[in-house]
Symmetry: C2
Subunit: 211 residues, 2 copies
DNA sequence: ATATTCATCTTACCTCTGTCAACATGAGCG
DNA sequence: CGCTCATGTTGACAGAGGTAAGATGAATAT
């Protein structure tokens, strides 16, 4: 039960015999995903931490497990960003919806590899349970916005879950298309992406049907 | 310039010394993706066709190129399904929108691995140009629905492209979530998926704002 | 008809990756 | 003080993508 080097920033090298490898590996994997120079490989993560390529197997049964841990961390970051954006958007539910959606999309644009990992297929459903939960948790702010919006009368009454799922789908699809189909928009063109989302948000609010 | 076994269905074994390997490989790769028993590997595709694992390199510079060809075929299938659904939906643009969206989602649900490949990241943008074009082509029916709907007055006047992108994002996100986040809905529960989409379609038509 | 050419295919081999098995090390407890 | 067991290391293996060099035979020229 001895803890040191909690955050694993980059303080001392090898704490003593071993450090808290598990977290360090997740950090390293995250870093590799962010840089996106090379594909995330178990050996690369181990090397980044300075251990042998089989050391990870003392903390993760296989690569998928490491990936799952990384994905969970990713969902934590996503939830933070979305929730932060929501509280910063003021009281208007429509504004909150816009802010959370934009935050979601930019999270994907800023961390495409991580985003893909988070929402990619889970090869073994062993670890998928926690990932699932983390994802649902990140989805919560959106549900809250919808519920509060309906209660406040900013959104017309209806099925909260259905509305939240719809918004999630819209924003998720836009994020996905933004990072992997750079047809008309590049990830660098943040204003273009924001504009596109604002247009979709407006359509979502007003509906396609004539008034 | 000798052609035989055009469709490559499964007629004769090895036409003569060589067949039209290229198409056969794409077929095999598609098959493997559909079955989804094992991950799609170059060697598996080669073995399925009955050639050595390096034979594919005479037709594709690398694995990515094969994958690109498969993705293009996938987009063809997707476009077919969507366009078929559209014409079968009658004259009402709203009904066409619903039909195309549902077709899109079920395409993903029915061919998840292929769908992921089609929309997954292109590691080298060398071949990505054709894939891009194929994807855009599959997107066309949606644009048409929007344009015609606006012209007909079924949808209120507005930016056709923005509306089409919005609809695409919604449907794409829902498809993606349906295949990789089987939280509340399993791929088998087709009626549940359809219901979820109908709800989203309704929201998209009516908008979130109160009337 | 025969020889030649060249796309196509095979064999052999390389590197990289995930994973397993056997061995090493040292922290903490009896 | 010595054991034990979690944690790490070394070494090996199989399966993947990819390259290089040689084989094979269909098409073409002579």
């Amino acid at each position: 039960m001895s803890f040191m080097d909690e955050t694993g920033e980059k303080g001392d090298e090898k704490p003593y015999h071993h450090g808290n490898l598990r977290e360090a590996l997740v950090d390293a994997a995250l870093g590799i995903l962010e840089r996106e120079e090379a594909p995330l490989t178990l050996r690369a993560a181990a090397k980044a931490v300075g251990v042998s390529h089989t050391a990870p197997y003392n903390h993760f049964p296989d690569k998928e497990a490491l990936l799952a841990a990384v994905a969970i961390r990713g969902f934590g970051k996503l939830e933070d960003k979305v929730e932060t954006a929501r509280t910063a958007a003021g009281a208007d539910p429509a504004a909150q919806l816009a802010a959370t959606g934009e935050a979601y999309i930019f999270f994907a644009v800023d961390h495409p590899a991580l985003f893909r990992l988070m929402f990619g297929p889970r090869k073994q459903d062993g670890h998928s349970e926690e990932v699932r939960a983390a994802g649902l948790s990140a989805f919560e702010p959106l549900v809250r916005v919808m519920r509060e919006g309906m209660e406040a009368g900013t959104f017309h009454e209806g099925d909260v879950q259905a509305a939240a799922v719809t918004a999630w789908s819209l924003v998720h699809g836009m994020a996905q298309l933004a990072i992997d189909r750079t047809d008309t928009l590049t990830p660098e063109d943040r204003e273009g992406i924001a504009a596109r989302f604002r247009a979709s948000h407006a359509i979502m609010m007003q509906g396609l049907a004539p008034r």
